[in-house]
């Protein structure tokens, strides 16, 4: 399958791959892509896309406050925090 660049895809997917994974996934994914490519021969130019199990239009509700998760409950699963905030590496130079 031309164009399958495992390093580009892994970067987009935010996945570090080991050298062994690069080789294994690279070849497996080429096979899988070649397999799913069998839809290429179908004429679907005039078809509309189906995005869901049924047609969903915008669903609105009144803009009224409702109870949500308490801060402590929402932060209880955070891997690292400083008081009421989640701790992350610096992202601004």
């Amino acid at each position: 399958m031309p164009g399958f660049d495992i390093d580009r895809v892994a970067h987009l997917a935010r996945l570090d791959l080991t050298e062994e994974e690069r080789t294994t996934f690279g070849s497996q994914l080429e096979t899988i892509v070649a397999y799913v490519d069998r839809i290429a021969g179908l004429d679907v130019a005039d078809e509309k896309a189906t995005l869901h199990g049924h047609q969903v239009n915008n669903i609105f509700r009144a803009d009224t406050p409702v109870e949500g998760l308490e801060t402590e409950a929402a932060l209880a699963n955070a891997p690292a925090r400083i008081e009421d905030e989640i701790r992350m590496p610096r992202i601004v130079e």
Partner: protein, 481 residues
């Protein structure tokens, strides 16, 4: 009386008549659950203390004169549904240590109906698999066909119910993940119509395909559970505001000798192709004969785009997975591999937390959505999905329901095909079409092979045709061994 072997209906009868208490029932189950963990491994978490406390509360309420549709009946929950205060990992190492801060809507409904939450069943990691072998916490073994896979991804739920390690369970079905393990473990499994059951609080696999459904020992039990979990939920915009009938009335008023009189069952030739195992085919043929004997009519129909089901499914599903699983980045919950650089932190956290099948599907999904390939794969697959859906609608113009096998072959031995992703993907060939079309289906036991492996049969009905499914399934259901 062996309490752990009861159905929901039998358990409710005993509880209502005071033959036993919910604590008796729950303790009996915990005993067999704990004893079976070393070999079957149906559960990733058993909440013995919590379940017994809930059961005692149910007994107090019943003693005070209360009754509810599930009061005191224990249920097993697939590990991708949030139950407040319990771990919820979707069988992934990346969510190890996560404790659910709220109830999924289906859990809140079950809780309101009086159900007791026994524990969390094993599954393929993030529901990505058909064998329960991709679980980050080790595989589950089929309790009936020993040494074999239980199917997947709801393999823990199927093994729990099939092995009498639960009265009933919830599973989720994205491409067959309720019906296929139900078939392999000899139980009943329902994939409801898309939008019938809320997805709020479920760890999303592929959002346009996922539905939660019952996994039970009988058709009646599945109807009881569907009554509880169905309905519109303001927290899930894709759940639909369709009335919820009493599913346990679906078979009322049928002629006892000819319960399928007036019903036409479509036989899609594409689902009976060359790849079908001989015994699976024989059970399907026997079920066709049973339809006729019970007054139903058979009619050949066609689903001409069936051959495109697997490619279309694996494009749409992996695309949605790659987007849904982007949230597992070690920021707000789950495991984190700390780094100085944020992108590096995402990459290493995900590299360490995800198993091989998850990585493979995230990579494929990222590829089909990536610039330069989006139109050729994702966009095109969505249009093919339209063709597949149209096939089903046209077939339903000629019949009430479709009758097909669930899987091309019975459960295979643990460890086989693990290095061959496409081989695994092809095992979903008879189930993915239903999810792509959005309609509903039920798997019921059809028999057991000479090697002792259960084989199921699938009934498929149009959107919100669950009453049709239950009526037909109840008639076709074989006596339990």
């Amino acid at each position: 009386m062996e309490l752990h072997k009861l159905t929901i209906a039998e358990a409710l009868k005993g509880l209502r008549e005071g033959t036993f208490t919910s604590v008796d029932l729950t303790q009996a189950l915990i005993n067999v659950m704990e004893a079976s963990q070393a070999d079957i491994h149906a559960y990733v978490t058993i909440d013995a203390e919590g379940a017994l406390a809930q059961a005692a509360e149910c007994d107090r309420r019943r003693a005070a004169g209360e009754d509810l549709p599930m009061l005191g009946v224990p249920i097993a929950i697939k590990d991708n549904m949030n139950v407040i205060g319990q771990p919820c990992t979707a069988s992934s190492r990346i969510l190890e240590g996560y404790v659910a801060p709220y109830d999924a809507t289906v859990i809140a409904k079950l809780r309101a109906a009086g159900a007791v939450f026994l524990g969390r069943t094993n599954m393929d990691e993030f529901a990505l698999g058909s064998t329960t072998q991709t679980s980050g916490f080790g595989p589950t073994e089929n309790p009936v066909a020993r040494g074999c896979i239980p199917g997947g991804s709801s393999g823990g739920s199927a093994a729990a119910v099939g092995g009498d390690l639960a009265i009933c369970a919830l599973g989720s079905d994205t491409g067959g993940s309720i019906r296929q393990p139900a078939s392999h473990c000899g139980i009943v499994g329902v994939k409801p119509t898309y939008g019938r059951v809320s997805r709020y609080g479920i760890v999303a696999c592929a959002s346009s395909l996922d539905q939660v459904g019952p996994m039970t020992k009988t058709v009646e039990d599945a109807a009881i559970l569907m009554n509880v979990i169905s309905g519109r939920d303001p927290m899930d915009a894709t759940s639909l505001d369709e009335p919820v009938p009493d599913y346990t009335t679906a078979w009322q008023g049928c002629d006892p000798d000819q319960p399928l009189k007036g019903m036409t069952f479509g036989i899609p030739e594409e689902y009976y192709g060359d790849g079908l195992d001989d015994e699976v085919r024989a059970f399907a043929e026997a079920m066709k004969a049973r339809v006729v004997a019970l007054g139903g009519t058979l009619k050949p129909v066609s689903l001409p785009h069936s051959q495109y089901g697997i490619p279309t499914y694996y494009i749409c599903m992996t695309a949605e997975i790659s987007a849904n699983l982007a949230r597992f980045d070690g920021v707000r919950y789950g495991q984190r591999v700390p780094c100085d650089d944020v992108i590096e932190q995402y990459k290493r956290t995900r590299a360490e937390g995800f198993g091989a099948e998850v990585k493979r599907r995230v990579l494929l999904g990222t590829f089909v959505l990536s610039s330069g390939y989006y139109d050729a794969y994702y966009n095109r697959a969505q249009k093919v999905r339209t063709l597949i859906r149209r096939d089903f609608n046209q077939a339903f113009a000629e019949c009430d329901a479709l009758l097909t096998p669930v899987t091309p072959e019975p459960a295979w031995p643990l460890g086989v095909y693990q290095d061959d992703p496409i081989r695994n993907y092809l095992s979903d060939v008879l189930t993915v079409g239903v999810n792509l079309a959005g309609c509903c289906a039920i798997a019921i036991p059809a028999g057991t092979t000479q090697a002792g492996k259960p084989v199921g049969i699938q009934l498929i009905a149009p959107n919100f045709g669950e009453m049709t499914l239950f009526k037909a399934a109840k008639a076709l259901e074989l006596p339990r061994a």
